[in-house]
């Protein structure tokens, strides 16, 4: 089972939220999410000062495999984005809850934090999902927008052309 820090809040779409206790929250994707995505190679992050509603598509994480939407876990205004992960997306893989943070938001409504899952609830959700699909680590349970549907699950293989 992947890492799930106790001091964070979580969404069903695998974002984590850290309450900075100053009216802002820091947001990233969970260790479980980065495991599902595999090696990240590109991130699209929101502009500072832009406003988002609850569960709006706010960012995109692209791995070698797929593009996945990241949804705003709370409504509010973007304060800061992590420029470091734009240059080094692998930070999300290596340190999802630390250097791999994505952006901070100034909350419109602090009560929205109460609606998020705590670590225990998130863990239960992951366990339930893994129970359902049998192996606990299935790609298909990740809420993504995988436009090309290219998860290798049912694509064709090919033995090669070898134009040497």
């Amino acid at each position: 089972m992947s890492m799930i820090p106790k001091d964070l809040k979580y969404t069903a779409s695998h974002e984590w939220v850290r309450d900075n206790d100053d009216g802002t929250v820091t947001i990233g994707i969970t260790d479980h999410a980065q495991e599902l995505l595999g090696d990240l190679v590109h991130l699209e992050l929101p502009e500072a000062d832009s406003e988002y509603g609850l569960e709006d598509a706010i960012a995109v994480a692209e791995s070698v495999k797929a593009a996945s939407d990241i949804y705003a876990p709370v409504s509010g205004t973007v304060v800061e984005v992590n420029e470091a992960v734009l240059d080094a997306p692998e930070l999300v893989n290596t340190d999802a809850y630390g250097e791999g943070w994505l952006f901070t938001i100034r909350l419109d409504d602090a009560d929205e934090l109460q609606e998020l899952m705590d670590a225990t609830a998130y863990r239960s959700m992951l366990e339930e999902e893994s129970g359902e699909d049998g192996d606990g680590d299935d790609d298909d349970d990740f809420d993504d927008n995988d436009e090309d549907d290219d998860d290798y699950a049912d694509d064709d293989d090919h033995d090669g052309d070898k134009r040497k």
Partner: protein
């Protein structure tokens, strides 16, 4: 779901397993990027036992293959020589792409895709009527691929001396029997290396020996990024039953000479040529930020096209794709990445060879 003879070894190596055409196969063993780089810089080991090996025996084998394939098996005159080509439907659509190894005029070995196994076998059985031959699926054999600049040396090091000598003598795109098995200087990565067919127990031993020789296991994820960098087509993505080889970058695999060889799909291809081929499969290198995927809209100066395969190229550090676009479309285009138009360069569809970018910068 089916498992290969190497299934337990994948688990031991920490593989994440996925369903691939009904087979439980390793997608990666931790990091697809690292596995990709391992093949470009050293040597990687793939289990491709899900692929379908079919032996064709009989006096009718040669004539049958000349009818079945758009490429001409008569081009093979040296035992062991391999031929890449397509099996077409009467409309010129691609039923599958495959490799045929020439053994004798009455014995050929063919390797086809796992995902198309049933349609391939049905089609071949149907077309075999009236020809004196037998088709035998070799499910008793596993298939390994060892690829990378050091693959040759490391693979030879685990073979008995007599077999190693035979393998070392192979020219590119040739194969030879080794004991109960078969080794060929072929691959799907754009690197040097071998593909090796062995009885299951021997394949398990070879797997262990290759790992001990410092060859790292590589999953199907990296197999896809490696083949795309090498500009090699993937059946189902870059061509299928609805696309002819002429618009799939596979014109070079069609043998229209001799004119009296009446292969399946020939008249459709001739009609397509006579009417003027409208599209081509090109390579794209993304100039802006983002990652290319399949089925993205491509806007060219003279019309629109679509990406058929796309990925982030670890070697180039940029997104690359194969795309079906109008012919004579110049050297620049834009790709619709989730509503944003991002500029891309149109290049020859081959991005990396032997570890290095072959795209002009």
């Amino acid at each position: 779901m089916q498992q290969t003879a190497l299934y337990q070894r994948h688990l031991q190596a920490g593989a994440k397993m996925v369903d691939f055409a009904g087979w439980e196969m390793p997608i990666h063993y931790g990091s697809q990027l690292n596995e990709h780089k391992q093949v470009r810089s050293d040597a990687g080991l793939f289990d491709v036992s899900h692929m379908v090996i079919v032996d064709i025996h009989g006096p009718g084998a040669k004539a049958w293959l000349q009818k079945l394939l758009a490429n001409d098996i008569a081009r093979l005159t040296t035992p062991g020589k391999a031929l890449y080509g397509c099996m077409l439907n009467p409309d010129g659509g691609v039923i599958d792409d495959l490799i045929v190894y020439y053994r004798t005029d009455t014995f050929y070995r063919m390797v086809v895709n796992a995902a198309t196994r049933q349609q391939d076998m049905d089609w071949m059985q149907q077309q075999a009527a009236g020809f004196d031959l037998t088709l035998t699926e070799r499910s008793d054999l596993s298939m390994l691929a060892v690829q990378g600049p050091n693959a040759r040396t490391k693979a030879l090091s685990i073979l008995p001396p007599d077999q190693a000598a035979k393998a070392a003598d192979l020219k590119p795109f040739f194969g030879v029997e080794i004991g109960e098995g078969f080794i060929a200087s072929t691959g799907y990565t754009g690197e040097d290396g071998f593909e090796i067919m062995l009885p299951h127990a021997e394949a398990q031993q070879a797997w262990d020996a290759l790992l001990a020789a410092g060859v790292a296991p590589v999953g199907l994820g990296a197999r896809d990024t490696l083949r795309l960098e090498a500009g090699m087509n993937l059946y189902g993505n870059d061509m299928d039953q609805t696309t002819s080889p002429l618009i799939s970058g596979l014109g070079w695999t069609i043998a229209l000479e001799p004119e009296d060889r009446d292969f399946i799909g020939r008249s459709a291809l001739e009609a397509e040529k006579a009417a003027g081929v409208k599209q081509r499969l090109a390579g794209l290198v993304l100039e802006g930020k983002g990652v290319l995927r399949s089925h993205m809209r491509v806007i060219c100066s003279n019309g629109e096209g679509e990406t058929t395969s796309g990925t982030f190229s670890p070697t180039l550090g940029k997104a690359i794709a194969l795309a079906r676009i109008p012919v004579a479309s110049g050297d620049g285009c834009e790709v619709d990445i989730r509503g944003k138009l991002v500029p891309a360069r149109i290049v020859r569809p081959c991005f990396v060879r032997h570890g290095k970018s072959v795209v002009a910068s």
